[in-house]
């Protein structure tokens, strides 16, 4: 991985940058499960003093109209992200493994249900 760690959507380096004063509230990324049967999906971020406040603020900010049945919050600084750069070698190993896809295999047209 060329960019080993970072803060997800925030685009800031976890270690770099100016150190916050101790009174600043850290940044949390918010994930919401829209309804039962769906995955949690990233919806945005917010600042809060701690996890509990982050959950309450996330409810007030991202689910004012029943948009969710469950919320995850995670400190942005705790997220490890790959680089999204498409040329990144991180995703290269999948590039030459076409045999992982069903379309790789030729089956005669008259064979049913396959």
């Amino acid at each position: 991985m060329s960019t080993p760690s970072g803060t997800g959507e925030t685009g800031r380096d976890a270690t770099g940058g100016v150190e916050r004063p101790s009174t600043a509230w850290p940044l949390f990324e918010v994930f919401v499960r829209g309804k039962r049967g769906l995955n949690h999906v990233h919806v945005g971020s917010l600042h809060a003093a701690d996890e509990e406040m982050a959950l309450h603020n996330a409810r007030n900010l991202y689910t004012r109209r029943n948009e969710g049945v469950s919320i995850w919050v995670v400190r942005a600084a705790d997220i490890t992200a790959s680089s999204p750069d498409e040329k990144d070698p991180f995703f290269a190993p999948n590039g030459d493994k076409v045999y992982r896809h069903p379309t790789f295999y030729e089956i005669p047209d008259d064979v049913p249900h396959i």
């Binding site: 685009g11 009174t23 945005g44 917010l46 003093a49 900010l61």
Partner: protein, 322 residues
Amino acid sequence: MSTDEATITDEERLYERFEATVEHDQRVEPRDWMPEGYRKTLVRQIAQHAHSEIIGMQPEGNWLTRAPSLRRKAILLAKVQDEAGHGLYLYSAAETLGVERSDLTEKLVARRQKYSSIFNYPALTFADIGVIGWLVDGAAIVNQVPLCRCSYGPYARAMIRICKEESFHQRQGYELLLTMMNGSERQRRDVRDAVDRWWWPSLMMFGPPDGDSPNTQQSMAWGIKRHTNDQLRQKFVDMTVPQAEALGVTLPDSGLSYNAEREHYDFSEPDWEEFHRVLAGEGPCNTQRVERRRAAHEGGSWVREAAAAHAAKQAERGRAAV
């Protein structure tokens, strides 16, 4: 090859890839390489947009305690809360570009960043609440719908959420005005007076005329903007005239008439000198709006500090218990 040459080639390669992303209508995401001008334009625009939502709570917030019924009060409260939410979605999008929300707030209260000139006008009667929903939020919708396809992913996603909620804002305003127009003569007079005062500032929300908007071309090339200021203004006028007719109010422009050849309404130029005066800080409420925001920010600092101290203490206890 010297190091300099190698750097230039890398930069050019990155620029090409960025341009291809925008050209193919794909989205630029936070950790992608992007030209410095693109990043700066977005930070300025998103911050200005976020500040507008936050400052925009004030003209309506002033009427919360004076709403004429519990129903209107609950609606207005929900709307003002939405504005706060919209501001936060946008600050969240701005932070993906490597700026801090607290810095943006400092810049707002130091008047180093702007917000929409519309919020420097006062809301004088409860009819203004209806007109703000109908015209100001209506203009905001026309501005914001194309931004849902903005080339910068986090901004576009924030705009999708905002546009969904904005429709409630406009409809509650129009419904309020319909109710007042069916009320007493005094109420109808208040509605007409509010329409007269808000019409021109609403047209100014789309920004200066195209000939006077130097950044538009670049923003369109980068896929940040999809239409020019004048195109959006025309769209808003075309949408609004029939709504005014249905409401039974006359928009305060003698030059307003349907042009069958263009298939659009013709309308007069807003007073651009007034626009520039208000933008420069000389509108009726500029000082009041910023000072109110500053007072809220400074008055709330002990709460932020106390919460941070509590969180630090809890974390310390957690560590001690392990």
